[in-house]
């Protein structure tokens, strides 16, 4: 069964550094998402992306964050200048068509980001 893959599985970075988290969505999916989960807290929506542009973003997704689909397969999340509070598990997801029950989100295994 096709799956969403994320790299790296763990990323350690120093405060103020830029990080790029990478995702390869399922190939026939059109909608892409990033979520994050701070340790012990709930899963939070960051951003959704369709047709090469952001379709929705949350309050968390400020100017420090950006997303890009640089080629036909990768979907990246960039944090420009990391802060300690950015430490979390970041999940990428993709779906065929949002809002339809037969098109659920498929999640990757996540990237654990630790900012020191």
């Amino acid at each position: 069964e096709p799956e969403v893959t994320q790299t790296p599985s763990h990323q350690v970075t120093q405060m103020g550094q830029e990080v790029i988290l990478r995702c390869v969505p399922i190939s026939n999916h059109l909608y892409f998402y990033w979520y994050r989960q701070i340790l012990g807290q709930k899963v939070e929506f960051l951003v959704s992306f369709y047709n090469n542009e952001i379709s929705e973003k949350s309050e968390i997704f400020d100017d420090q964050f950006s997303v890009e689909r640089p080629d036909g397969s990768n979907f990246t999340l960039k944090i420009r200048s990391t802060k300690l509070e950015d430490s979390a598990m970041y999940f990428c997801a993709s779906s065929e068509i949002p809002g339809q029950g037969n098109s659920p989100l498929h999640f990757g295994n996540g990237t654990r980001l630790t900012v020191t």
Binding site: Y33, V43, E56, G99, N102, P104, F107, G108
Partner: protein, 115 residues
């Protein structure tokens, strides 16, 4: 607007006994409902989905959920818990909002299974 409430943050059962994880939702539109499971240090795996067909939905690993519109509930059940079921479970709703379809996560229920 949509919302999801998972009524228990933690549930503890003994191996071999039934599991009940409760979820209530609100949606102004016929929602799609899902349960996801997250094992420690793993990603989110889809357990089952409700798509306005049968109200009793069967998922993987022996789990099932019943959509009850009158109670706005979508509780997850399993007749007999296994040690490997210990994980965090998320109830998720996709519903129509002013800005389009939104995916809303519940806060999660951590299931503990005792030997």
């Amino acid at each position: 607007a949509q919302s999801v409430t998972q009524l228990d943050s933690h549930v503890s059962v003994s191996e071999g006994t039934p599991v009940l994880l409760r979820c209530n939702y609100s949606s102004s539109y016929s929602p799609s409902l899902f349960w996801y499971v997250q094992h420690p240090n793993k990603g989110l795996q889809l357990l089952l989905k409700y798509t306005s067909a049968a109200t009793l939905v069967k998922g993987i690993n022996g789990f099932e959920a019943e959509f009850k519109k009158s109670e706005t509930s979508f509780h997850l059940t399993k007749p007999s818990a296994h040690m490997s079921d210990a994980a965090e479970y998320f109830c998720v709703v996709i519903g129509l909002n002013t800005g389009g379809f939104k995916t809303i996560f519940g806060a999660g229920t951590r299931l503990f299974v005792k030997a």
